[in-house]
């Protein structure tokens, strides 16, 4: 008798799930309170486990790195001398740049976005998806579509926000598409995550126009026409650009600047692209 009831419950639950999948594929806003509420309960546990794990792992790693660090230290001291010299030169150039900027009234300085630091507390363990979770949420000013950077390069975009956490989809995820451009020539392209090439540490660059001037070694940054990504964030460097068989477009690969294997801390840009555009239009 009990097993028969079980069967009905199974069918009922399955149907309910399929219905939910259908509904949430189009609109998942109404689940935010649920996810957020659950976050209050789960995030402290995740943070705790994550912190313990990180500490143990870092201790082990530090120990093994101690040896190489001594050698490295010697080399780095030499580097410091060189860099000091460079620094003095660059500082004077910086002043020059500032003067020139004022001169040209370059008011749109890319580096002025507001950022907050966040810690990566959980990550999908399987290899199918490249999403991770950070310990800052709407309470800290993180919003859906906020850009996430680390190590000087773009890492991903916030897809889901709770009160004290946010879920980030990396640009290396198989569904990720970023509208980008070559910094030098300003020609547009699409940077697409692809599981098959990510294994070699690469992303795909597609949709480059045939006559566009993008070569291997070019710096690829987020484009100014992207709807969600702020312009001018470095993504990586182009390599192996070739002409497609259609002869109308070119495509190639991109080596990302951010290191995705060892992400522990990231920066979230709290300014959204929409807001930048809205204030830009109002002025």
């Amino acid at each position: 008798m009990e097993s028969k009831r079980g069967k009905y419950i199974l069918i009922g639950l399955s149907a309910f799930c399929i219905m939910l999948i259908g509904i949430t594929s189009f609109k998942d806003g109404f689940l935010t309170p649920l996810r957020s509420g659950f976050g209050y309960f789960l995030i402290p546990i995740q943070s705790g486990v994550n912190r313990t794990g990180t500490t143990i792992y870092n201790e082990l790693r530090d120990f093994s790195r101690l040896k190489s660090a001594v050698n490295e230290n010697r080399e780095l001291k030499l580097r410091i001398d060189e860099l000091m010299e460079d620094n003095t030169r660059l500082q004077s150039e910086q002043f020059e740049l500032q003067r020139l900027r004022e001169l040209y009234r370059l008011d749109q300085d890319y580096l002025q976005y507001e950022k907050i630091g966040a810690r990566v507390i959980a990550k999908d363990s399987g290899d199918w998806f490249q999403v991770f979770r950070i310990n800052k949420g709407s309470a800290d000013g993180v919003q859906v579509d906020a850009n996430v950077i680390a190590g000087g390069g773009l890492v991903g975009i916030v897809t889901d926000v709770g009160a004290n956490y946010a879920t980030v989809r990396s640009i290396i995820d198989d569904v990720s598409r970023v509208s980008a451009m070559a910094q030098q020539s300003g020609e547009h392209c699409i940077v697409a995550g692809d599981l098959m090439v990510y294994r070699d540490g690469r992303l795909r660059i597609t949709n480059i126009m045939d006559e566009a001037d993008i070569k291997g070694g070019d710096r690829i940054v987020t484009s100014n026409i992207s709807a969600k990504f702020l312009p001018g964030i470095l993504i990586g460097y182009a390599v192996d650009i070739t002409i497609d068989t259609s002869r109308l477009t070119k495509s190639g690969y991109l080596i990302p600047t951010a290191e995705f294997d060892s992400l522990q801390e990231v920066l979230v840009i709290t300014t959204l692209k929409e807001e930048v555009e809205a204030t830009g239009a109002a002025e």
Binding site: L10, D28, L42, T54, S125, D127, D160, D174, V175
Partner: protein, 166 residues
């Protein structure tokens, strides 16, 4: 009762370890799917209904973790729990061969499910590449972990059952 609470805590623990600790170790080329192991072990040891409810809980945890369509994992996990529960009539305590076979079958189903509904529908047709790079390593890791976890799980559940009887 203690058994149920213990098992729920075990699922939460597995979830946090799976999402919080495994990804920190870049030298692990694949990671075992602890939630799947637990769900099918519950189903196999405690029967269809229990398997289904534990699967429901594990699936909801995963669905809450991912953004996007809700219910994707829940749907799979309740069915895994239930279907493995059917094999419960072949369940003997020290019999490890069948659980290992089940573990392989479940991993295969789990990965095919993701491949078909998340990758094939986007026209990613090179199945052999994904099989070689993702599915097979994950199956191997999971089977090895099953050997350890299943024993641990049986042992603790037996102890807890005796405690409950007193």
């Amino acid at each position: 009762m203690r058994k149920v609470i213990f098992n729920i805590i075990l699922i939460i623990l597995a979830f946090t370890v799976q999402c919080g600790i495994f990804p920190l170790m870049p030298f692990l080329s694949a990671t075992p799917n602890l939630l799947l192991i637990l769900t099918f072990s519950f189903g196999f040891a405690h029967g269809r209904d229990a398997g289904m409810y534990y699967g429901l809980f594990a699936g909801i945890l995963l669905d809450l973790f991912y953004s996007g369509s809700f219910g994707f994992y829940t749907l799979l996990f309740i069915n895994v729990g239930y279907l493995n529960g059917i094999c419960t009539r072949y369940y003997y305590e020290d019999y490890i061969t069948l659980p290992l076979i089940l573990s392989v079958v479940n991993e295969l189903v789990y990965n095919l499910y993701i491949y078909i509904f998340r990758f094939l529908v986007r026209n990613r047709l090179d199945f052999w590449y994904y099989a070689k790079e993702i599915i097979i390593p994950e199956i191997i890791f999971t089977v090895v972990t099953t050997l350890l976890i299943y024993r641990f799980f049986l042992y603790t559940n037996r102890q807890l059952e005796e405690l409950d009887k007193r």
